[in-house]
Amino acid sequence: MAYVRVENAVKYFPREDGSEMLVLDGVSFEAKEFGITCLLGPSGCGKSTLLNIITGLERLEQGRAEVVSNHRESGKEDPRLGYVFQDPRLLNWKRVEDNLIFALKGMGIPREVWDERVEKYLSLVGLIEFRKQYPLYLSGGMRQRVGLARGLVIEPEVLLMDEPYSKLDHLTARKLREDTLEICARLKQTALLVTHDVEEAAFMGDRIVIFSPRPAHIADIFDNPLPPLERDMDDSRFIQFKKKLLQSVMRLIKTEEV
């Protein structure tokens, strides 16, 4: 279906004083098709910037970042991308279902399928009874679920998630991670997930791409030895994999200090 290819991406931002700040210094990786690829890296290294480049909100100075799909000839039309933000970013004055319809309308999806889509994806995230509710009457975790449903409802080629669990409490986040994993596996959804939590990356990622601190390059890429629905945080194989990631990340931080 679709995957993401980033080749030698270079990105500068202008500083206040007029000089340039190098954010991405030749980032290359390929995201896994039909699975979740985690972008794991320290705060400020440019992960969100990379997502913005993929969505087309920012431009690269060099290299390319593209969504490759066999449905489209590359470069002909925009890829269809779903976005899940750190905070839910819902339109609080619209009912849950109308928040999904806002995305469907924006992406130009024909009106005939709206109802069916809304029903399908709200059921998937477990909120079908709340379709007529206003977001401010829902809990934080439920609002984030609405955000996830809104990202999925447009049936994106790639789902982009930018630290979607970092504002939730521990247990709510844990449950939502499990559910996201199951939903993405069931839908065979290609997804990018930005995080700076090693355990989250080990749990969610079929592939984990480790960013160095800014200016970012790719330090390591790991493929998860465990299939999505067999990851158990207490299992020794999971713990081993997590350790491997942690070692890689710690090495980066140490070289930084030297």
Binding site: Y83, F85, W93, K105, G106
Partner: protein, 289 residues
């Protein structure tokens, strides 16, 4: 023996206190009904207090200066029953609503444009601020001199007086619009129309409602002034007529009917509008006493 009784008494007292405490929780929260009734009683009491002060004054001053409340209310009843009221009030209301509508149609896009585009903000800021500073009376004079004693001059005077105020309020509101939501709407490729209607305007609702309140208040004042200048109908005209025959009773009676209509619009219509457009927001009033 006595000790034991004491202990039992203390025990039952404790239980009573506990059960009272348990009951006290639901009791402390007044039901919506009780609260509504209490609210109405307080409002009525406020109005009665005003009438009482008036009545005291009417005992002190001669009736030509301060007529008795009851006689004035009789005059009000006469105005309403003869049907004059609906004709005159209708004319005034029409002027206010048309002028107000024109002002809204101009001010909402103007305010949004000023809040979103920096260059147009600089361009429109001076005229808007100047317009705000100009007293309504002067606008009224200018418009009557320009359009003559026609309905148009009344509409224009109302529109021009309140438009700057509406535009400023919407302009400031637009500047405080949540940028994250704009980014979200971009990520989902929302059209410019949908960005304005679904994302920006709903965030301006409280600003727009406040603007409607102030705007209506200003509009009433201007329209009465315009009507005083020589219109042959409307509440302002009736007040001037009362003045010319030096009938304090007539002036007050017209003022009262006018106030009543304003209050109905303010609490009835705008209150209703506010409830409808903010239904998505949970009511959090717990902090108020």
């Amino acid at each position: 023996m006595a000790k034991q009784e004491k202990a039992i008494a203390a025990q039952s007292e404790l239980e009573a206190a506990v059960s009272a405490g348990v009951e006290a929780i639901p009791r402390r929260r007044k039901s919506a009904w009780t609260e509504a009734i209490q609210d109405v009683v307080l409002r009525v009491a406020g109005v009665l207090a005003l009438v009482f002060v008036w009545w005291i004054l009417s005992l002190i001053f001669p009736a030509t200066l301060v007529p008795r409340p009851m006689e004035t209310f009789g005059e009000v009843a006469a105005i309403v029953t003869t049907g004059d009221f609906f004709y005159e009030m209708g004319a005034t209301l029409r002027r206010v609503l048309v002028g107000f509508g024109i002002a809204m149609v101009v001010a909402i896009p103007l305010g949004i444009v000023m809040g979103t585009l920096r260059s147009l903000e600089s361009f429109f800021e001076p005229p808007v601020i100047l317009g705000l500073t100009m007293p309504g009376l002067i606008w009224a004079v200018l418009m009557i001199m320009f359009f003559g004693l026609t309905e148009t001059s009344a509409y224009a005077a109302v529109a021009v007086t309140i438009c700057p105020m509406l535009a400023i309020s919407i302009w400031q509101g637009t500047k405080s619009v949540d940028k994250d939501l704009i980014d979200m709407s971009k990520a989902f490729h929302a059209s410019p129309w949908s960005k304005v209607m679904d994302v920006i305007i709903p965030q301006l609702i409280s600003h727009i409602l406040a603007a409607i309140r102030y705007g209506l208040g200003l509009a009433w004042k201007v329209v009465v002034v315009v009507e005083m200048f020589g219109f042959s109908n409307g509440v302002g005209y009736q007040v001037v007529r009362g003045f010319n025959i030096f009938s304090m009773k007539a002036v007050l009676a017209w003022a009262i009917t006018f106030l009543v209509v304003m209050i109905i619009i303010e609490f009835g219509f705008i209150g209703w509008l506010e409830r409808v457009v903010t239904a998505w927001r949970p009511k959090i009033e717990a902090w108020r006493r």
